[in-house]
Amino acid sequence: MHQLLITGGPRLEGEVRAAGAKNAALPILAATLLAESPCLLSNVPHLRDITTTMELLGRMGVRLTVDDRMRIHADASEVRVFAAPYELVKTMRASILVLGPLLARFGEAEVSLPGGCAIGSRPVNLHIDGLRAMGADIEVRNGYVQARAKRLHGARFIMDQVTVTGTENLMMAATLAEGRTVLENAAREPEVVDLADFLNAMGARISGAGSSTLVIDGVEHLSGAEYSVLPDRIETGTYLVAAAMTRGQVRVRATRAELLDAVLAKLREAGAHIDTGEDWIELDMRGRRPRAVDVYTAPYPAFPTDMQAQFCALNSIAEGTGTVTETVFENRFMHVLEMQRMGADIRLESNLALCRGVERLTAAPVMATDLRASASLVLAALVAEGETLIDRIYHIDRGYDNIEEKLSSLGARVCRSSTRTPTAGPV
C-alpha cells in the first residue's frame, strides 16, 4: 500500500497545470455510447476511475485508443454488450452513468447497483424513476437494474433531490427520446454543463444547462464529436489553498476562474491576493499568514462540499477562529480527527467544525479516509513541523492526478513510497 511522506515547511511557489475534471470526464466517456461515429476527447485526467470506465466501455464493444497526445478516441459504432457487471461497478459508483445511454440508444441495459447502495436508496431511485417516466420498463433483480424500452419518450420529471449523476443520466437518456423532456430541480454544477455542451456538440438539443430546469428535445441520432474536458475546479482550489497555507505564490494554469467564484471569494477573505486570466488563477499571500474564514457548503454555485476539508486545514493554521458548516453530506468531517492528531484545535458540533487557528501543526502518522479528507491531510502536512506519513493514499489517487509531482514542482518535499523510507523532494 502506498504512502505519502511530506516534510512540512517550504513555501510553495511556481506554476502548476490543472488536470481535466474527473467528474466531467466520467459522464462524457459514458456519453460516447450514444454516438454512432467516433468521438475524440482531450484533457482527460490520469486517474484510476477513468481507466476503469474505459475498461467498462471496452467490454461493451467500444473501441478505445489513447493517442500520442493522450487524447481518447472512442468508437461506439459496434457495441455488442449492454451490461455493466458488478465486478467493475463495485469499484466505481459512477458506472451507473452507462444506464441512460445504453437504454436510450440500444433499448436495453443491465447495470449492477453500486456496492453499498441498498435497493431503494434515493439517488439510484431517481435515475430509475426518471427513466420509467420516459417509458422504460425497469426491474431491479439480483443486484442489477434491468431496463428495456423500445424508444424512450419525452417526459416532465421533477427530481425531489438535487443529484448530479441523476441529472446526467436522465439528460443523456433524453437526448435520443422521442419528443421533449423537461428535468426540474436539475443539478447546476459545471460538470453537468460540460456534459450538456459535449452532447450538444454531438447533435443533441439541450437548453437550460447551468439552471435548475433542463429542456431536452430528443433527436434521432447522435454523431461523434471532438471535445476538451473542463478543468478540475476542486484540484485547482486545492493547490490555491496549499499556496495560501504555505504563505506562497502559485499560479494554476489551464483552469477557469469562473468555476471557483465562491472559493476565490473565501481565499480573498483569508487575505490572499488573487489575479485571474482567461485560463489561469494566481494566488499570492505575500508571505503573510492566512486569516480564518467561515465557510458554509451548498450546491453550486455556492461553496462546494468538496472544498470544505481543505478549508478546515487552512483554518487550522490561520489567524483567528473560523467555522466550516457542512450542509450537503453527512459524515464529512472524518479528516478532523486526523488533523487533531497533528495539533489542530478543531471542535465538532453536529455539522459544524469550529477551528481555532494554531501557530503550527506538528507531523504525525495519519490515515486518509476519503478523497477530500486525504487532500486536507496533505495540506496540513505541508505546513506541519516534521515529517508526516499519510497512509491509504489510494483515496487521494482517485481524485488528484499526479499530486506528488505537482506539489514537488512547487517546492514541496513530498515523496511516495510503499515503505517508510524518507527521500526528500526538490527544495
Binding site: R17, A19, G20, S42, N43, V44, P45, H46, R48, T51, R63, L64, T65, V66, D67, D68, R69, M70, R71, H73, D401, N402, E404, E405, R416
Partner: protein, 116 residues
C-alpha cells in the same frame, strides 16, 4: 506506415507510426518470432534467442502500440525466450502510465504525465 526490421541475432527495430491502422499487420508479421503459441508454422524457431527490440524509429504511437508491446512480451515468455524493449518513445511511456501499465512494462511509474 510502419515496418518491423529484423537485423539478425534476435535484434529487431520498429519504425514509423504505430496505430490502429498499422499495428494489426505488424502483429501478423511478427508471429513467426514467437513460435509455439499462435504460429505453429514458424519460419525459424527463434525461441531460444533472446530478442531485443529498438523503438527509436517509432515516429508516432497510440495505445495500440503499447498493447502490441504487451502482446509480444507475453508471446516471448510463452515461447520460452525474453524480449527486451529499448528506447521507448516518451508518448508510449505516457500512454503506459495513463493505462496503469508502467509497472507491467518495467517502466518508471511516475514522471511527466501532463495530458493535452
Amino acid at each position: 506506415m510502419a515496418r518491423l526490421i529484423e537485423l539478425g541475432a534476435g535484434r529487431l527495430r520498429l519504425e514509423g507510426e504505430l496505430n490502429l491502422q498499422t499495428v494489426p499487420a505488424l502483429a501478423r508479421e511478427a508471429r513467426h518470432l514467437f513460435p509455439g503459441r499462435q504460429s505453429r508454422r514458424a519460419k525459424q524457431p527463434a525461441a531460444a534467442t533472446p530478442l531485443e527490440l529498438d523503438l527509436s524509429g517509432v515516429t508516432q504511437a497510440s495505445s495500440v502500440a503499447v498493447a502490441l508491446m504487451l502482446d509480444w512480451l507475453v508471446r516471448a515468455r510463452a515461447a520460452g525466450t525474453s524480449l527486451r524493449i529499448l528506447n521507448w518513445p516518451p508518448s508510449m511511456i505516457r500512454i503506459a502510465r495513463f493505462s496503469n501499465l508502467a509497472e507491467l512494462l518495467d517502466l518508471p511509474a511516475s514522471g511527466d504525465q501532463t495530458l493535452q
